[in-house]
Amino acid sequence: MTNIKSNKSALVVLILGLSTIVFPLYLTIVIAFKQPSEMTNSIDGILSLPKVWSLDNFREAMEITNFWHSLGNSLLITLLTVGLSILLHSLMGYALGRNKAHSKFYSFVYLFIVSGMFVPFAILMMPLAKQTAEMGLANWFGVVLLYMVFYMPMNVLLYSGYLVNIPMALEEAAKVDGASTWRTYWKIIFPIMRPMHATVAVLTALAVWNDVMTPLVIMAGSDQNTLPLAQLNFQSQFGTNYNLAFASYLLSLIPILIFYIICQKQILNGVVNGAVK
């Protein structure tokens, strides 16, 4: 009897709590659809539903922020980083994971890279801004290279941790058949690590997609934008037209919302796996 009661109160708490999540989203949607003339200073002027559901704000915001261009850049950077992370970080995780137990060199390299996790971006930011400019990498490609380095500690840790569960016997059997280490890796080990690829993909994609600081510091000089960067620039130029601004915010949230609705299960699993391991 007490059990049923406590569950009911849990449900009430959860529904109330949910309003703190729904309300900001509701706010974003209604303001994004309204015209400035509908926005009065009273609370119902702000929160009431728009009189007409018109897409004009979105059309204008898209034009001002060059939405498709920023979206393209964000997609390019995210997909490339995720793809390269899965290929290169898994290889590195493999090389280090298989050798760190019996080789001083590999265990040193492993510690060296994993301890990169403690290096805050703040200390790298200024030298990197200079360095990428000197190397002609102050663009989206430079940002991808940096992400490959920033997420390497975490991903190498995840991959080499996962490798512990994969028996050496599999590789030895392939070796007996005459396959090279390189071939064995791609034919046997890489496919087996699939669950970890999913985790790495989710963690890296979320982090890269929403990151502001790296593109801000590295790409600021170029006329290229990512979606978050476009919001930042938009805010400093047109921040007072809230309807337009909110249309722009909503536009920038839609891709990740769609991704979340489609892959919710994988995302939740990925995030938990990444954190717990």
């Binding site: 590195m92 805050p120 979320l206 938990v272």
Partner: protein, 288 residues
């Protein structure tokens, strides 16, 4: 055969390690070198020895940013963990539409923190004062973001809103590792409600508690996006986080050398805090 394996591993490791050194180790070393100069970010510069470090400890603005950042990190960590734990307990109980609720509560975490910050900025600037006006709370009639004593609370709320989503999911996965019969056995001994939580549930999910602590403190110490979206360090420099100060004054304020010294100190602080946390949580787990 053996050599082939060795060679392959080296051919994998060397280029990737080189990439890492090029964009992590070298800039780190350059940052340390710059911290001993009076470099402005352009033009010529001279060696100044430990001048920057000495100035750092007497600089009121830097001191304020450390105080603000630590205050924010500690308070937010406590708030986030208490609420997350309660939510996780509720979400792990036998309720209807469990997976819907779990999915919905995780939503804030996937949204970009800059845009979330902008939305809350509007909320604090227009909605909250309008509501306060309606129900007659004088102290909230002006935006809390323009009040030097209260702006940090606004930032805390936005940081918490997103972090709670993450921590709740981790606590749920912790609660799922607690087998049902532990509660049954505990129930026979009269452990229910708070007692059950304190003596049975919590000790069993301490590893997850540690993960959340480490995640929270590290993320909040490095807070940047929320500051950028909500206050830009204001009002009266009351909400400048360490990262924001380094970015703002180092990149465009002509303090490249000085802020490099600040960044080096910040790096050491992060390492010390992280190592201390891991030592501490390692000990706690051992005791169990």
């Amino acid at each position: 055969m053996k050599n082939e394996r060795k060679r392959t591993f080296l051919l994998i490791t060397i280029p990737i390690l080189a990439l890492f050194i090029c964009f992590n180790t070298i800039p780190l070393i350059r940052g340390v070198i710059y911290s001993f100069t009076n470099f402005k970010g352009f033009g010529k510069y001279n060696w100044v020895g430990f001048r920057n470090y000495i100035d750092l400890f007497s600089d009121a603005r830097v001191g304020r940013s450390y105080w603000f950042t630590f205050k924010l990190a500690v308070v937010t960590t406590v708030v986030v963990n208490v609420i997350s734990l309660l939510l996780a307990l509720a979400l792990n109980s036998k309720i209807r539409a469990k997976s819907f609720f779990r999915g919905a509560y995780f939503l804030p975490n996937i949204l970009g923190s800059l845009v979330v910050g902008y939305i809350f900025n509007y909320f604090f600037t227009y909605i909250l004062p309008a509501v306060a006006d309606m129900i007659g709370i004088d102290s909230l009639r002006t935006s809390i973001l323009s009040n030097p004593d209260a702006a940090w609370i606004g930032i805390m709320i936005v940081c918490a809103w997103q972090a709670i989503a993450m921590n709740t999911i981790i606590y749920i996965s912790g609660l799922q590792t607690v087998p049902e019969d532990v509660y049954e056995a505990g129930g026979l001994d009269g452990a229910t409600g708070w007692k059950q939580f304190k003596y049975l549930t919590f000790p069993l999910i301490i590893p997850f508690f540690s993960i959340n602590m480490v995640l929270c403190v590290k993320n909040f110490l490095m807070v940047f996006d929320q500051i950028m979206a909500l206050t830009k360090g204001g009002p009266a420099q009351s909400t400048e986080s360490i990262s924001y100060l380094i970015y703002n004054n180092g990149m465009s304020g002509g303090q490249f050398g000085f802020q490099s010294a600040n960044a080096v100190v910040f790096f050491i602080v992060i390492v010390v805090v992280s190592v201390a946390q891991m030592k501490f949580s390692g000990k706690k787990e051992e005791q169990l």
